[in-house]
Amino acid sequence: MSLVSRIKGYLLREEVASTALEIVGSVLIGVLAGVILLAATGYDPLQGMYYLLVAPLTTPGGVSYVLVKPIFIILTGIAFAIPALAGVFNIGGEGQLYAGAITALAVGLGTGNFVLAFLAGVAAGSLVGLFIGWLKETRGANEVVTAIMLNLALFNITLYLVTNVFGSQIYPNQSESLPRSAMLGYFFIGRVKIYYSLIFSTALAIVAYFLVYHTSVGYWIRVAGASPKTAKYAGISPSSAAVLSMLIGGAFGGAAGALAVAGYAGYIDVTLSSLYGLGFAGIGVALMGRNHPIGIIFSSMFFSLLIVGGGEIERNLYGPFGYAPKELADAVSGLIIVALALPYAYRMLIARVRQARIAKKVGGGKA
């Protein structure tokens, strides 16, 4: 069977086709809502949509810029997606990212070696994930609560370390910079600048896909997430699978942080502005990508386009009250993201509620 016909067969499968239809439909609805919002506030909606969706792709600089954010949010997206498949809500991608970033910075400064810095960041992130998973399964602590608290704690620990331990001697607003040997560089295609870390994180997404869909561990995670009772029947411990998924998810969160430092900026600024929010963005990206690692690659690119396009709106879209405010640009791209993420988020929520209800009815331990 030729590759083409296999791909064709895959695309014609019902669930693939219906997912594609849902995504296309969601984008159209989101765009339509954005158009209405722009028109209602007195801006030219077609021009607005041009700036949002097309303008960033018309210049090499714009394309380069669009290709930066996906480096990180592909990975934080997977940090959310893998635990989600096991039925765990990992809102701690943000904290795992900080842990990965600061650890990679410390090890990179100490050793001057990228590989060591990266691996240390991954290890730090996975430890944070493991801790949340372990608390949930052995102590019954709700993962959302512990993750939110840890996010805050790790933000401040990182902030402290950046300002007090690794602070730059030269620039007061940032940490010391990593040496070139501890960093991944970039290359050009034409005039488009591409970071090697983007290739790397895309490759990691493919690894994640293989892990989830082609290994025993991935199968355990998916079975445990789909039905804890079935998992027990098949000899898979749902709680081990949950902890394992948090360990793996945390590793991806840590990898995002490590690449944010050692694969892109080379330092951390004292407000953590280069990191802040990347973990949370991962949740939206994962939902848009239907928790599928390959889907997340595309949703990350699209998400990044919307962010950059939002900037274009602010700079270029002129209306009755002058240039469009940032809030309007955010609202328009936000509408599209919500439209894309909502159907899947809704289904996930329903599944969770149903599972909790079944678990209660059975009267067994926590599901």
């Binding site: 499968r13 669930e15 869909y213 082609h214 290994t215 025993s216 561990v217 991935g218 199968y219 998916r222 079975v223 789909a226 039905s227 009772k229 079935t230 027990k232 029947y233 098949a234 000899g235 898979i236 079944i358 059975v362 009267g363 067994g364 331990g365």
Partner: protein, 515 residues
């Protein structure tokens, strides 16, 4: 209004129901239920009985058609409208608060209906109803402590408290012992004498003959006929229900058992709440025989099966598989050692969102995973074999299992266990919720597996199934095996009494009982 005095209790005309997913459940159904009769609604699973009842109870709306209750056209927006019109429903799964007392449940229900819910008013009304109908219920007992049969009486009482004129019961006997069933029938006849119209959903022919005045037989979303019960035989009804002659008896050779393959010694198991559910069970299943475990639901059957399969850890006792002590082995190891376990619910055994291949992989991971990598090619081959050997009807191997019919789902669940040629098969309710055709198929399969030398432990609450298939029958009551002997040595009456706990253990449980 004058002619409504003569109008039937329920008159439904041309009811069509198309579900949002496009399934046509009812294709133009007419149903006339006369006042004060017991009207049975008979049909296989998927015939549309439950859909029709849910429409009559206002739970779902018909796509087309009209309904009259006592001559008045009605359009229910929800069960509350149906209740107001005097219709009550007793579900298969009760809608009681388990931790509440009977009184508290009754008061809750009364308050929900906008009726007086003060303790003295409710108690007075309940006691008056109980004395008039013979429906005895301990008002101050906590519901979860009551046997299932009594809980069902609470449900009926709850409906009567709301002054229903029409009472719908959805497969009410499926959870009852023969003794409890007889009691229920007495109660229903009493209610009928007091002018209450009863609709009785069932798929058991014997019950139709035992209690109903008239019966409406449904098949595939249509009404086959409505007839007087007195004018037909069970065989007539069976023919109408399935549209062909049913093999009510399954032919089988006498068993030629060999040595014991599965031996359970003094097994004690706790349930999810931490209470003893299995209390010192001894059991032996030999190669080439089917041992049936008969009993009313909830007497430790599930915990027994799970403990043997390793899903649940016993806290005392031993499980021997082909002479080896395998107590406490995790399930996947048991499956590798030659045990197959068909759980009592497809929701446990299958993952609805997974496709056939992924579901077949579930208990066959030792045949599929290599060094931590899932060899999906191997899994697909195994799945293809299951589909071919057991004639599973599915669009493709990649079809999510939820799109298969119940019978085909069951074939996948059973087939994937059988395909690895296990030495021991534990089959829990293997035909639960299947139509006659699929039931017959699964039963014949179990007999064939027995003839090929497998040891089969059949756990079922369906007495017909136990009697048809088993070479020996073990009766379980309250976590203990109260009797084991060859099937033909039991009488129906004796089995019923044993299942109801009315006869003390006829054989000591301290030793391994052998037929």
């Amino acid at each position: 209004m004058a002619q409504t005095e003569e109008a039937p209790a329920i008159e439904a005309r041309g009811i069509v129901k198309v579900y949002p997913d496009g399934v046509v459940a009812l294709k133009g159904v007419d149903l006339v239920v006369r006042r004060g009769e017991i009207h049975a609604l008979l049909g296989e699973n998927g015939a549309g009985k439950t859909t029709l009842m849910r429409i009559l109870y206002g739970e779902i709306q018909p796509t087309k058609g009209e309904i009259r209750v006592f001559g008045e056209p009605v359009r229910f927006r929800g069960p509350w409208d149906a209740m107001r019109a005097g219709i009550g429903m007793v579900y298969q799964h009760f809608t009681l608060v388990a931790r509440f007392t009977v009184m508290e449940n009754l008061r809750l229900s009364q308050a929900g209906a906008g009726l007086p819910s003060e303790p003295h008013a409710v108690r007075a009304k309940a006691e008056e109803l109980m004395s008039r109908t013979g429906l005895k219920v301990p008002l101050d007992a906590v519901v979860e402590d009551l046997p299932v049969g009594v809980q069902q009486r609470v449900e009926i009482l709850k409906a009567l408290m709301r002054d229903v004129k029409i009472l719908i019961l959805d497969e009410p006997t499926s959870v009852l012992t023969p003794v409890e069933t007889r009691y229920l029938f007495e109660v229903l006849k009493g209610l009928k004498e007091r002018g209450i119209t009863i609709i009785f959903i069932t798929h058991k022919l014997r019950e139709v003959k035992a209690i109903a005045d008239r019966v409406t037989v449904m098949r595939r979303g249509r009404v086959v006929a409505t007839v007087d019960v007195a004018s037909v035989t069970e065989a007539d009804l069976a023919r109408m229900m399935v549209g062909r002659e049913v093999v009510l008896r399954i032919e089988k050779e006498p068993a030629k058992p060999k040595g014991p393959v599965l031996v359970v010694k003094d097994l004690w198991v706790k349930d999810d709440r931490g209470l003893d559910a299995v209390k010192g069970v001894n059991l032996e299943v030999r190669a080439g025989e089917i041992v049936g475990v008969a009993g009313v639901q909830g007497n430790g059957q599930r915990e027994l099966a799970e403990a043997i399969a390793g899903v649940r850890k016993p806290f005392m006792g031993q499980v021997l598989l082909a002479g080896r002590d395998v107590t406490g082995y995790p399930p996947h190891r048991m499956y590798r050692e030659g045990l197959a376990y068909i759980p009592d619910s497809r929701k446990v055994g299958l993952i609805m969102d997974f496709n056939i291949v992924e579901n077949v992989a579930l208990t066959n991971r030792h045949l599929i995973a290599e060094k931590g990598v899932m060899r999906w090619g191997k899994a697909a081959k195994l799945a293809a074999e299951v589909v071919r050997r057991f004639a599973v009807v599915a669009e493709s191997l990649k079809t999510p299992i939820r799109y298969l019919s119940g019978g085909n789902q069951q074939k996948v669940m059973v087939g994937r266990e059988v395909v690895r040629e296990p030495k021991v098969i534990i089959a829990s309710e293997p035909t639960h919720g299947l139509d006659v055709g699929a039931t017959e198929y699964i039963r014949k399969l179990l007999i064939r597996l027995r003839d090929e030398g497998a040891a089969v432990l059949l756990i079922s609450t369906d007495l017909d199934e136990i009697l048809q298939l088993s070479d020996r029958v073990a009766v379980i009551f309250d976590g203990r095996i109260v009797s084991v002997k060859p099937t033909q040595e039991y009488t129906i009456e004796e089995l019923g009494l044993l299942m109801g706990g009315a006869i003390p253990e006829s054989s000591g449980s301290g030793e391994v009982v052998r037929a």
